[in-house]
């Protein structure tokens, strides 16, 4: 396998004062190999965005380690942290509020270069023009326009150009297409694929839309209530999910095809309160297969197939699917 770029071990984030503590992320571990795209899916409150932010240390992890290219970010501080952070950049959901409306596209993209004094004068201009052109914004016609003059899709393109200015190795995309129209969403997804190839980027793609995540990811990780349920190659995980929650999630995904068969049962109820999560497996309160063991023991992530791990005492194996007549 290719080398690991990002290693996350037992990452936990808790918010709030003692007694009313919300465990937003609880013991999450995963690796991202150089050059791959890892999709992180889950419903609201599952901790996917907090995980992304904790990697950048926008929110401080309560425990656990994050290692980027062998440097432990969670132990770093001051200048080391700042320098390491240039190797990872983040793009956010709302493209319009991510940009200062009163600044010009060109200056927004140049900001990281100015901060780090990476380029000035003619070279700075050349780099910025190149970045804008690469994300599909004509630097001559639009470079001097203000952020407020751009549409949502164009603002997202500028955000991407800004993130690329530091030539990062890892790009964390947090719901970057969810606010966009379908036709614009497809443009941005294709753009990310192209840029990934061109810059040799590694992507952590956080989103709630299962179809979008599958489209862009090599591997997919599923989160529920702060924990990882399942992680595996995108195609395998979607065709043969091993965690009951993944199965329900996929069953609820709506396919734009009237002939598509409906995939089984709809998950009932809503996620429990994060202030007081269930003991053992956090999904057990809604899981049709839960037993006493699920309440007593937290299921660890274990491998069910090469590269396919699941945190469930009773994973949906092929034998069990056939046995159930499914």
């Amino acid at each position: 396998m290719t080398e690991t770029l990002l290693a996350v071990r037992d990452l936990s984030v808790t918010f709030g004062p003692r007694g009313r503590r919300v465990s937003a992320v609880d013991g999450v571990s995963f690796d991202v190999a150089a050059g791959e795209t890892l999709g992180l899916v889950g419903e609201s409150g599952c901790g996917k965005s907090t995980t992304g932010r904790a990697l950048m240390r926008i929110v401080e992890p309560t425990s656990g380690t994050v290692t980027l290219e062998g440097v432990e970010l969670t132990a770093a501080s001051g200048r080391t942290l700042r320098e390491q952070r240039t190797a990872m950049q983040m793009i956010f959901q709302d493209p319009i509020s991510s940009l200062n409306p009163r600044r010009r596209a060109r200056d927004i993209v140049a900001e990281p270069l100015d901060c780090w004094k990476r380029a000035a004068g003619e070279e700075r201009r050349r780099i910025v023009d190149e970045l804008l052109a690469q994300v599909g914004i004509d630097p001559v016609a639009y470079g001097d326009r203000y952020a407020r003059q751009f549409s949502g899709g164009q603002c997202q393109r500028i955000s991407i150009a800004r993130a690329l200015a530091m030539r990062p190795k890892l790009l964390i995309c947090d719901e970057v297409v969810s606010a966009l129209d379908v036709s614009v969403q497809a443009q941005i997804l294709n753009l990310l694929e192209d840029l990934k190839a061109e810059y040799g980027l590694t992507l952590l793609f956080i989103a709630h839309d299962l179809a979008v995540v599958k489209n862009i990811s090599d591997r997919v990780a599923v989160m529920y209530l702060g924990r990882l349920c399942e992680i595996g190659p995108a195609d395998t995980l979607y065709s043969a999910p091993a965690h009951p929650y993944t199965e329900f999630l996929l069953g609820a995904a709506l396919e734009a095809d009237p002939e598509a068969p409906r995939r089984g049962e709809v998950l009932q109820g809503e996620p429990p309160n994060t202030l007081n999560p269930p003991s053992g497996c956090r999904f057990r309160t809604r899981c049709p297969f839960a037993t006493e063991r699920c309440a007593a023991e937290t299921p660890p992530l274990r491998e069910v197939a090469p590269g396919h791990q699941v945190a469930c005492h009773f994973p949906l194996t092929i034998a069990r699917r056939e046995g159930a007549g499914a």
Binding site: Q185, I216, A253, D257, E259
Partner: protein, 332 residues
């Protein structure tokens, strides 16, 4: 068919006066909706789908908006109707479910009271009867411990539960037509599936007609029998849901379908892309609004406006000078 028609929309045009000039949000839209039928209205932002649903409801600000054409709901004309006449329709003939359940509920009034209001004001029920009926409605929309939740404030409910309350309010007057404008946008996928199932179920049980307005083709694919595809305020294609998905003729419909990623496609499937973005309604081209983004556009498309013309299948119409060839058989 005509005696079954619940809603008849004819040449509806809604314009707004803005500081930049007159903006046509809905432009000459016509369609019929039969009793018990469910119709999907799809389009991207700015396509006019929300303004259309508000026009059908008769919900417009008084100033700066003008509506022409006719919206005949069960024999009553909505366009130009007085506020009193519209109030007679709202709740009992037609009700609406909006996108954001937090802003459609009053945050400082208990949810039960908000349902009661419809029952007491519209149906003239007394307090005890209204309360009992409200609890019944809460149960019907799948809210557990309905009697307790009757006294809950909206902020203590989750987004999915709030949307259920909004649906309960809409159903309180037993309307014949339910307009649902992006009812599941902003909800999680599993909750979205629950809400769509609930709408399906109550529609069937109460024998209502439903108009489901959405940008998400996945939402309408299996939940509606007919579709209206809108672009820049106009209907560009309409037909049975199956025909529109499998035998669409308008290039925009195809582009919309092919640019949405699908769960059933392998990962890294290259998405077909529509260049450009939805047009500015203040600067619409004289011809087909989609022409600047269309791969099949000719000079005629830029200067002349295509009108809806029939395709091979009954009820299937499209507005295009250079339509895609009719396709037989299963969808791609």
């Amino acid at each position: 068919m005509s005696d079954e028609t619940l809603l008849r929309v004819r040449e509806v045009t809604t314009t707004f006066d803005t500081p930049q000039g007159r903006l046509t949000a809905v432009d000459g839209v016509s369609f019929d909706l039969a009793a018990h039928e469910s119709l999907g209205v799809v389009g991207e932002s700015g396509s006019g789908k929300t303004v259309l649903s508000r026009t059908i409801m008769g919900l417009q600000p008084r100033r700066g908006v003008s509506v022409t054409g006719s919206v005949l709901l069960n024999g009553t004309e909505v366009v130009g109707a007085s506020e009193d006449a519209k109030r007679e329709l709202w709740g009992r003939q037609v009700a609406m479910v909006f996108q954001d359940p937090m802003t459609s509920l009053n945050p400082v009034v208990k949810v039960g009271r908000q349902i009661d209001e419809v029952l007491r004001v519209r149906l003239g029920m007394g307090r005890p009867a209204a309360r009992a009926r409200a609890i019944e409605l809460l149960e019907m929309v799948g809210i557990p411990a309905a009697a307790t939740r009757y006294g809950a404030y909206p902020h203590s409910l989750s987004g999915g539960m709030r949307q259920r309350v909004v649906i309960a309010i809409a159903l309180a007057g037993s309307p014949q037509l339910l307009l649902a404008d992006e009812p599941t946008t902003g909800l999680d996928v599993t909750i979205q599936a629950q809400i769509l199932n609930l709408l399906d179920e109550v529609q069937g049980r109460l024998g209502m007609s439903m108009i489901l307005v959405t940008h998400d083709l996945g939402v309408v694919a299996t939940r509606t029998s007919r579709l209206v595809v809108m672009y820049a305020g106009r209907v560009v294609e309409t037909g049975t849901t199956r025909d529109v998905f499998a035998r669409h003729r308008m290039p925009y419909t195809r582009a919309l379908l092919e640019s949405s990623p699908k769960v059933s496609n392998p990962s890294h499937t290259r998405l077909a892309v529509i260049p450009g973005r939805p047009p500015n309604l203040l600067e619409l081209p004289p011809g087909c609004a989609f022409a600047p983004r269309c791969a099949y556009a000719t000079d005629r498309c830029a200067s002349e406006r295509p009108v809806l013309e029939p395709a091979d299948e009954p009820g299937h119409l499209f507005a295009c000078f250079n339509p895609l060839p009719p396709r037989a058989g299963s969808p791609s």
